[in-house]
Symmetry: C2
Subunit: 422 residues, 2 copies
């Protein structure tokens, strides 16, 4: 066994040991650790910012895009926000221990299905220091031991933050090994980690598609994936066109860089002549590029709105930018089939006043979140009332859609008898 394999394996073994204590830790103890962590962040601005400066000055960080460098940067304001976000989790209910089902069998066996932590969770992410705190906090609150593996550009910042987490755990008399950062940026450490299926129970990759794909292809541990959102809005023949315009503009432009932003617009043929020029003008005014199929281009051409001919790829693309692809469809059936073929099954919306049409859309669109007369932008743990979010699952197993604290849990069966045998 190489030294690196040994290092990562030992770290995972310590996480597994810590997970037993954490699984039965009281809500109070966990909250004490979180409150202490928030205080430590508040008290350690200079230390964290100095570590962050080392990261920002490194050749790796210099090579990042401006947007990525911005995500890597921490400052006083961001650290205050980070501490506040930790304090918000303190107040949330503990998901562990809830009795999900309870039944007594004819033979007298009393079966309770109880929510418990998953165990040990590996978080694989990129150069975003806030993910270190967010994920550590949500794992801790849900009773899971966490192994963190952040981007190499962020290593010193992460090391400083992980030190604070350890101190907070120890202050609450919880095992310091409950949250560990992998102390090397060697890629081989990740590959090793992803094969430790006897010690780690779940991997959550947080980042771009190539990271997620690498993890999914190399892990023998179950992975919860958060892939892209190629989200659709379908404006039906029976839509309120004012509402439809507001929803399309909001879904596209309120935050184009996120996965629940709309990328694709489908418009029913019967209202296309009336609706498209209005919505296109509103989108254009917000700086959105319109990538059109032949039918929509013809209509918009008559309104002198600038359009770009869409390629076949555009109709399946997550632009994450001020770009939208537009198609005219002849029925809700075509809309449903198009969405089921081309969307990423994340969040898709219909705008219509026709209830039977809406019911069909809700039932037949095979996506995690299906909207009737609302913006796709609501797919979010906070908007759902979860109080926290670790991501939005595009998988269908375990968790689908926004994942909060409950979705970081498994369950087990506690069975009480009086000597029953079979």
């Amino acid at each position: 066994m190489s030294a690196l394999v040994q290092l990562v394996t030992n770290l995972a073994q310590r996480a597994r040991s810590a997970s037993y204590a954490l699984a039965v830790a009281s809500a109070v103890k966990k909250d004490v650790a979180l409150a202490k962590l928030a205080d430590l962040i508040d008290a350690s601005h200079a230390e964290i910012i100095a570590a962050n400066k080392r990261d920002l000055d490194s050749p790796e960080a210099q090579a990042l895009t401006a947007a990525a460098r911005d995500r890597l940067r921490v400052d006083e304001k961001r650290l205050k926000h980070l501490a506040a976000s930790v304090r918000e989790v303190v107040g949330l209910p503990d998901p562990v221990g809830e009795v999900l089902e309870e039944t007594t069998r004819p033979n007298g066996l009393k079966i309770r299905k109880v929510r418990v932590p998953i165990g040990v969770i590996g978080i694989i992410y990129e150069a975003r220091p806030n993910v270190t705190i967010d994920c550590a906090v949500l794992c801790l609150k849900s009773g899971n031991a966490a192994i963190l593996r952040g981007g190499k550009e962020c290593f010193h910042t992460n090391t400083a933050l992980a030190g604070l987490i350890s101190r907070a755990l120890v202050a609450a008399e919880l095992p310091a090994d409950a949250v560990q950062l992998i102390p090397t940026t060697d890629r081989a450490a990740l590959t090793t980690l992803l094969k430790l299926d006897e010690l780690i129970h779940c991997i959550i990759p947080r980042g771009g598609e190539s990271l997620i794909r690498y993890v999914a292809e190399n892990s023998t541990i179950p992975v919860i994936k958060h892939y892209k959102g190629v989200c659709f809005v379908y404006v039906d023949a029976a839509a309120d066109l004012t509402m439809a315009e507001a929803i399309v503009v909001n879904a596209k432009t309120s935050k184009p860089s996120v996965c629940n932003a709309a990328e694709q617009l489908l418009v029913h043929r019967d209202i296309a002549e009336q609706f498209l020029p209005a919505v296109a003008a509103a989108l254009h005014a917000k700086g959105v590029e319109l990538r059109c199929d032949t039918a929509s281009a013809a209509i918009l051409g008559r309104s002198s709105l600038p359009t770009v001919p869409a390629t076949a790829d555009d109709f399946r693309t997550e632009f994450l930018d001020y770009v939208i692809a537009i198609r005219v469809v002849d029925s809700v059936d075509t809309a449903i089939a198009t969405i089921n073929r081309d969307s990423s099954n994340h969040s898709d919306a219909i705008v219509t006043w026709d209830e039977p049409t809406a019911r069909r859309f809700l039932a037949e669109v095979d996506s995690a979140t299906v909207y009737w007369n609302a913006s796709t932008r609501f797919t979010d743990g906070f908007e759902f009332g979860y109080g926290a979010e670790i991501g939005i699952s595009t998988d269908r197993l375990h968790a689908r859609g926004p994942m909060g604290l409950r979705e970081l849990c498994s369950y087990k069966f506690l069975i009480e008898g009086t000597g029953q045998i079979r």
Copy 2:
């Protein structure tokens, strides 16, 4: 793309298309298909048995162990039983469509979390023709399209059974592609299948550990695993020794070949002198070999009961046979730590009248099913009242423990608004 890759990809694409229709198929239609399948099995004994004879006569089948050949064999009695098992599923409630949660947000959005099928499920199994029917039936009832890949020794029998399933689907006006058998025994077809993560949503391997491991290591599709059961019974100092003896003997000997059978016995030091000779005599009378640690061997040596010194491996082994490993422990803490280290986290039991001790054991043993004063043999979908079982998950994500129809489902969020934007 090779012809084989093309074949498997096309098959998966057809399954995906069929999955949309199946997901919204009525409970009645699905039950009509199942009832028709049961009738077709009853009417096709000669055809199925002839196909099975071709399998049994093949060189591959000749090479199987006697037990494996027996599992491969079908006869009149087994086919009657198979049809009856299909009819039992007809009567079960449809898991699809149940509203799991319903909430109205402060902004007026009405969010419903609704149970839906997973989508397309791949079942990978060995030379057991009954699995073809069992899995097809449970997938169909839960609205999932199924792709079946059985062992090569069983190919003709599976082809005959898959033909009946297609006929039953068509008779119920459901797409024949909703259940498909991979029409080749080429290993490369399996490797191809396991990478089709854009078309297939879940893989369930049914078989031995090497099959499951191969699937887990080669699949980019989420896998629900059903690994081994290294199940423990811990007899506490405060146990009713008569009850404890009955539970140990039942857990070990009522069906040693199954995953919920006990393989490991831990006995508290304080009652070991009294309990071990009695339970060992009862086990010995049933033909069970006793693999003992030094302490238990010393006690049983004084009773002249034949023991075998246990190896280190014995304490983590799933014997699936008339063999049990025995250790003396000095406390419930040691018992819990031993189980968490050496068990497979499947089903573990404590026998005691001391409630605080039992509560600690239930809380701290990190297994799918933890028993207090009952045999481990109850870990089973039918014993849990599920009416059906596709397996017992040893994973912690999605499903843990017995999996019935509900555990073959995912969920989605249906969100109704009146024009809400964010």
